[in-house]
Amino acid sequence: MSFFKCYKSVNLVANHFFFTMDTKESTLQKSSLMNILWDIQKKRRYISHDDMTKISKVFNISRMELEGVISFYHFYHRKHAGKYTIYLNNSIVSKHKDFDRVKKSFETEIGVKTGHVTKDELFGLFETSCIGLSDQETSALINFKAFTNLTPEKVKILILKLRQGESLESLSDFPENNIQYTPEENKTVFFKPYKQGDALKKIIGIEPDGVIDLVKASKLSGRGGAFFPTGLKWEFCRDNKADQKYIICNADEGEPGTFKDRVLMNILPGLLIEGMAIAGYAVGATEGTIYLRAEYFYLKDKLEKTIKEFLKKGLLGENILGIEGFNFNLNIYMGAGAYVCGEETALIASMEGKRGEPTTKEYFPVEKGYLGKPTVVNNVETLCAVPRILEMGVDKYLAIGTKATPGTKLMSVSGDCNKPGIYEIEWGMKLKDFLDLIEAKDPHFILYNGFSGECLSSHDFDREISGENLLAEHIQFQINDPIEYARKMSAVGLRSGGAFMVFDKTRDLLPILQNITDFFVAESCGICVPCRTGNFLLNRKLHKIKLCNADKNDLDEIKEWSNIIKQSSRCGLGKTSTNCLLTAMLKFPEEFNKCLLAESDINKAFNLEKAVDDYDKIIHEIETTYE
């Protein structure tokens, strides 16, 4: 059974499940597990005990294994999540906009606190990590429809209308694309006119190896932020002989502050599909999957429609463009709310119907990936770049950008600037020019590359956005002096994964850093202790500093602990989780020293009055209850 057919049959099974609640003894492939969970979650609004019994039987797994999968993902519920399930984005840009008031408004209007469901099971209100709408905060998802630029007043009307029975579709705001800038016409790579199939036709007459050579020559590297050379990855996959190979598009754009892939998929879904087909052709894979984060459910229809168009036009399917043996089919797999699934091995585990835990990299996906077969996992932007490179020709592409990083880069801009949105810029632009372009107001610090990126200050404004003269990471984190840092790093390029959050002088750094540790505590998969508990402990330390109870030793401990987390975490999530904190401490020491206490043998954070407060209250209560 082909993967595509399998997917269809899964939907049938899910319906079968739902309407007849019949037990089926045959064993299903686990790779269809999450689709079934989604169907049940969407229809019933939670996954019941009976559902679990049936699912575990059909998939021949233990109940607890299933429980483990369900409880791993944020968007699956074991209790009723409300007919309208509201997920309010609690990441920092949202908080800086109107989060607190919007949250309060939701709570007042529906009558329950966040994390709860109304008694009539009409509304459920939950917080969630960044939903990829940072340029139009405060935003929320209701039943995975987007609601942007929320205000307390808007919320009031919205809830009223929903109570009156208006349809969610008519009320939701389809997210704006907000493309603010593209380079001059002959230097634009992504956002220019597009015609289905143009790029794909370019491969006629080129052998798969030739395609890989072209991609290698273009120096294209992983645009999700890891920058692994794409051509090389494809070559590895091509060289691993197997009866089946897979192309996976990583559309789990979970890095807070990033939303470029949303816009790409919204405007140019065809470009992505062509990119995947070309990748399939190059490595010899006939199946492709777009792993789409659940937060982008509203893009699914469009992607599916485009896939159908492609099938109709013979741009997908069997013998594409008449090329003998060029077969490629595509489907969409929905994530369910786990940042860590952006890590490629966790993503594959998720597609296999498991908990989204990263592997130990005993094998890379190009060796043993999805279902144990060689698999290429590429970011949306990477896959979209490929057809454009074929269209315009490598030479023309190489003429744009810098030597190490030719072409253009998509930047997702949010925070304190006049023009948040998407920027397609030529690699090599100076950071200060970019800040002018986005009309940043009095920029003070920048979260560059999201929460796992780094913190930039005015010391970095003269650096350029590119992959030139990069320094090894461990050298970068060895520098302890801001002046030395500025000197050493001035010529080092700022390689960008795409997230750009800018903050002005009125913003306090500590709450931002706490928001980051909160995020990693919520999103850690929990498999290794440094990441699982380390970030939790760091969050407490930051809290101590914020309350002005800390001394110099606490700062030393933060540095020491951050480095331990960095050194010993199991995957990239933990290894990068303290980057922002470490760079912020280096560049903004004054923010940490603001209210440090003199070193003391007595811990000032311990407050005796607070510690006995509970006791006083209980004694009072008990005396009145038992009188």
Binding site: M64, F72, C528, N603, Y626
Partner: protein, 422 residues
């Protein structure tokens, strides 16, 4: 062994079998890399505990997931890496609720043994004290999540004949825990169940009725530890020794067991008294400090407002503070109340308890009675503590050795047998 490769470990050259896992390759050459999640006959390394963290060709990684190949250069025992490993163990102690004195697996516990090996007397991290699930529901097994380090051994290795999982990770992040599938667990044979308990490196998986097999002294690591010695510590600057050293002691929220242990040195107390004079202490019944002290010995953690006052007073009046015994170091048995709301504790003790007078409904409170704190705090979360002597109680010789050596500025070495948490 025809396919040998040359590798370098901490500057020395070795020849090992190609493709072998670094933990095993190092072991064959007499180099020990500590591990918790790694176990024998394992097909795939789990890489979950992170304790075997080493540097391979300049990059930190774990040894259990590294396969040796020609020319790799490995650093294992650099001061930084030793400290990182220690920190990971300490973080496990801070994250879980590890009460060694009341743990069935004590003495047979891999985590505890590694902590002995690394000379851990206290964790550098504040205790999280989160409430965890203790699951007695299975007919045969107990899952004690307080002790679980989430190594994933049981999840990976214990399956039914049909290949179904018996143990599974549920939830994620800081809430991740291992849950038993009761139905599948019932299908295991008794020996498979015992295997699960033995496989668990800590005391998280217990088979009911099969727990205390070996008496104290014969447990796995009691025996292993017999010939081990702890490394000497750095020197401490002492004062000139014409006068006797002044020592003060106190028992906060403890059971006085540590003070009892103090007296267990029998006639050696005569030697002690030659160099030491006691000031404020239950031993002398001196209630108030009459002079500044060289050393203060603290038993017990802080459970009420008076404990806090006394501890702060000790900090002010003593040059060196030593926390001795589990309770002073991590709260100990009294800290088990940290997972129950204070109100419930008080009601259970004074109103609903079996021994409380029916209808009295009184919780003792008066301005002269100290107030209970919201939880029990380890001493080092309130004041700075200079040294720690673990044990429940610590061995008498151990306590005096530490005190004497600190005072006399001598290197001290504690035998593994004396160095105990339980």
């Amino acid at each position: 062994m025809n396919n040998l490769v040359n590798i370098k470990i901490d500057g020395h050259n070795y020849q090992v079998e190609a493709g072998k896992n670094l933990v095993d390759a190092a072991k064959e050459n007499g180099i020990y890399i500590p591990t918790l999640c790694h176990f024998h006959n394992q097909e795939h390394a789990l890489g979950t505990c992170r304790i075997c963290t080493v540097v391979v060709n300049g990059k930190t990684t774990t040894s259990c997931t590294t396969k040796v190949n020609e020319g790799i250069e490995v650093e294992i025992n650099t001061p930084e890496l030793i400290d990182t490993r220690k920190a990971i163990i300490e973080m496990l102690f801070a994250e879980g609720n590890h009460f060694c004195p009341s743990c069935e697996k004590s003495g047979n516990c891999d985590l505890q043994n590694l902590a002995y090996d690394m000379n851990i007397t206290v964790t550098r991290f504040p205790h999280v004290y989160s409430k965890k699930v203790v699951d007695f529901n299975s007919d045969r097994m107990i899952m004690e999540s307080n002790r679980c380090i989430l190594c994933k051994r049981c999840v990976e290795d214990i399956k039914t004949d049909e290949g179904k999982d018996v143990f599974s990770f549920v939830k994620r992040g800081i809430n991740t825990r291992v849950q038993i599938d009761y139905e599948e667990e019932a299908k295991l044979s008794q020996s498979e169940a015992m295997h699960a308990m033995d496989l668990c490196p800590v005391g998280a998986i217990l088979v009911k009725g099969m727990i205390y097999n070996e008496p104290f002294g014969d447990r796995k690591y009691d025996l292993v530890g017999k010939d081990k010695e702890a490394k000497p510590k750095e020197r401490f600057v002492k004062k000139d020794a014409n006068n006797k050293f002044i020592v003060a002691t106190t028992s906060l929220a403890g059971c006085f067991g540590c003070h009892m242990s103090l007296l267990d040195i029998d006639t050696d107390i005569v030697d002690v008294l030659e160099i030491v004079e006691f000031n404020k202490s239950p031993l002398t019944d001196i209630k108030k400090f009459s002079k500044r002290c060289d050393v203060g010995l603290i038993e017990g953690g802080c459970a009420n407002s008076e404990n806090v006052e006394v501890l702060k007073e000790f900090r002010k009046k003593c040059d060196i503070l030593i926390a001795f015994g589990e309770c002073a170091i991590m709260g100990g048995i009294p800290a088990m109340r940290n997972f129950v709301p204070l109100k419930e504790c008080l009601e259970e003790a004074y109103i609903n308890g079996l021994t409380s007078e029916i209808g009295a409904n009184v919780i003792p409170n008066h301005e002269d009675i100290p107030k209970l704190l919201n939880k029990v705090y380890p001493c080092n979360e309130i004041v700075k503590i200079d040294y720690y002597i673990p044990g429940c109680p610590p061995d008498a010789n151990h306590i005096w050795k530490v005190v004497k050596n600190i005072l006399l500025n001598e290197d001290y070495s504690i035998t593994h047998e004396e160095f105990k948490y339980d």
